[in-house]
């Protein structure tokens, strides 16, 4: 048990990553990950909601009866999302316009209710906070990687529109990988998101296999297939 914090961190970032392993919240993940900046924006907004909702859910876990826990969690999550939606509209107006409907739709990201119900409502505030933060960062990493993949293949750039998020001085962050790139439409459209995510999961599983093989070569077969459901 003394290893819990490290476990929570590892789970959020890698072993139980929302995007790679749990495959939750795919709707915003696939829709918004067309560029690095869009992915980062949605990822950070989701992280803030996860952190705030996990902490609140954990704080009230002794007050809420079983029968009403889901509506109470939904109320908490929905109000945090609304607050963050309003705040982004006020202070990150252009990015908010780009992300559009996907900020309010964070409410429907089942990963958030999932963490509240499966983890935060059963543990102390500090652990719930760490879990929310790490799950959020894990999700953000997937969004940014997928955004980078799709942006570089689709438009031949990286970090385009960074000024929407970081202010005017970030306009020069844009990297043009290939001059006069004609664009690769498939990567920008939704199928490109599915294919890209699939490829990334393949890479993750290959890495996991490589790591797992030396130690538990014989036992893995039965265990991993049971784990994955």
């Amino acid at each position: 048990m003394f290893n819990r914090y490290a476990d929570i961190t590892g789970n959020g970032l890698w072993y139980n990553n929302i995007g790679f392993v749990q495959l939750l919240g795919l709707c915003p993940l696939l829709a918004v990950s067309s560029t690095v900046v869009n992915g980062l924006g949605l990822g950070l907004a989701t992280t803030m909601v996860l952190l705030a909702s996990n902490m609140s859910v954990s704080a009230i876990r002794h007050l809420v009866r079983q029968e009403i826990r889901i509506p109470a969690f939904m109320l908490i999550i929905a109000s945090f999302v609304t607050a963050i939606d309003l705040a982004m509209n006020a202070w990150l107006y252009d990015l908010h316009k780009v992300l559009g409907i996907f900020i309010p739709l964070i409410v429907t990201n089942c990963a958030i209710l999932g963490r509240a119900e499966a983890f935060a409502s059963r543990t102390s505030i500090d652990r719930a906070a760490l879990d929310g933060l790490m799950m959020g960062i894990g999700f953000t990493i997937v969004l940014v990687l997928l955004g980078g993949l799709r942006e570089s293949l689709g438009q031949g750039t990286l970090f385009a529109n960074a000024h929407l998020m970081f202010g005017a001085f970030a306009e020069s962050w844009k990297i043009v990988l290939i001059d006069d790139y004609r664009g690769f439409l498939l990567a920008i459209l939704p199928p490109g998101a599915f294919i890209g995510l699939g490829l990334m999961i393949v890479v993750k599983n290959i890495i996991d296999d490589k790591v797992a093989k030396p130690s538990v070569m014989l036992a893995t077969d039965g265990l991993t297939s049971a784990d994955s459901h």
Partner: protein
């Protein structure tokens, strides 16, 4: 026993609803002004791309009227008209307009028209057209929309207000005809509307209200 249990549970949920509502309410209150300011800044930035600040000396943002003419503008929606004046003389208007027949829904436009009825510039403010194809209507992606600059009903007769494919004089772009077709149509409609209503569009809104 069951009844008190129910009441207590409901009360807890009610308290949560109150706290959540309060949280949303204070956020709404705190962000109300920044949001309005951001919206105004973004709109002014778009307006000033079309009507440069040197051309006028009034406040574009407040000198507006709202028109709604589904028959001639093709959409049943209140649209704002920003009027630019210099020394009280009318210079140009920037009209909000909507092309309702884009490839995926409405395309929101801002169309600036000089007093004499020629196009000063067109910008797409919001659209859902296909990325990589239809989004060439954005000024950030291609200079297609600048093709309208200087055009008017006298330089381009009614039949020529179409894309080249339909026999008009405006480019379509490879792979997307529906999107440019919708915009050409909307700009044409706006010019026709302007021609018919020019004088009433510049009327001082205060006078109009009285």
């Amino acid at each position: 026993m069951l009844f008190t249990h129910m009441i207590r549970t409901a009360a807890v949920l009610g308290i949560f609803a109150l706290i959540s509502t309060w949280l949303v309410a204070i956020t709404f209150d705190a962000t109300k002004e920044p949001i309005a300011a951001s919206e105004k800044r973004a709109l002014l930035r778009n307006l000033h791309q079309l009507i440069p600040p040197v051309m006028h000396d009034n406040d574009l943002f407040t000198d507006t009227i709202t028109v709604n003419d589904p028959v001639h503008l093709g959409i049943d929606m209140p649209l704002r008209v920003f009027r630019a004046r210099k020394n009280k003389q009318p210079i140009a208007v920037a009209m909000e307009s909507v092309a309702p027949d884009g490839y995926s829904g409405n395309i929101f436009l801002l169309i600036a028209i000089r007093y004499d009825g020629s196009v000063l510039g067109v910008r797409v403010s919001k659209h859902k057209e296909t990325p990589g194809l239809g989004d060439a209507i954005e000024i950030e992606r291609s200079d297609w929309v600048t093709g309208f600059n200087g055009k008017s009903l006298s330089t381009t007769h009614d039949k020529a207000w179409q894309v080249e494919k339909d026999g008009g004089e405006f480019d379509q772009f490879t792979g997307a005809t529906i999107t440019p077709r919708a915009i050409v149509k909307a700009v044409h409609k706006a010019l026709l509307y302007y021609q018919q209503h020019r004088d009433s569009l510049y009327i001082d809104s205060n006078k109009q209200e009285r």
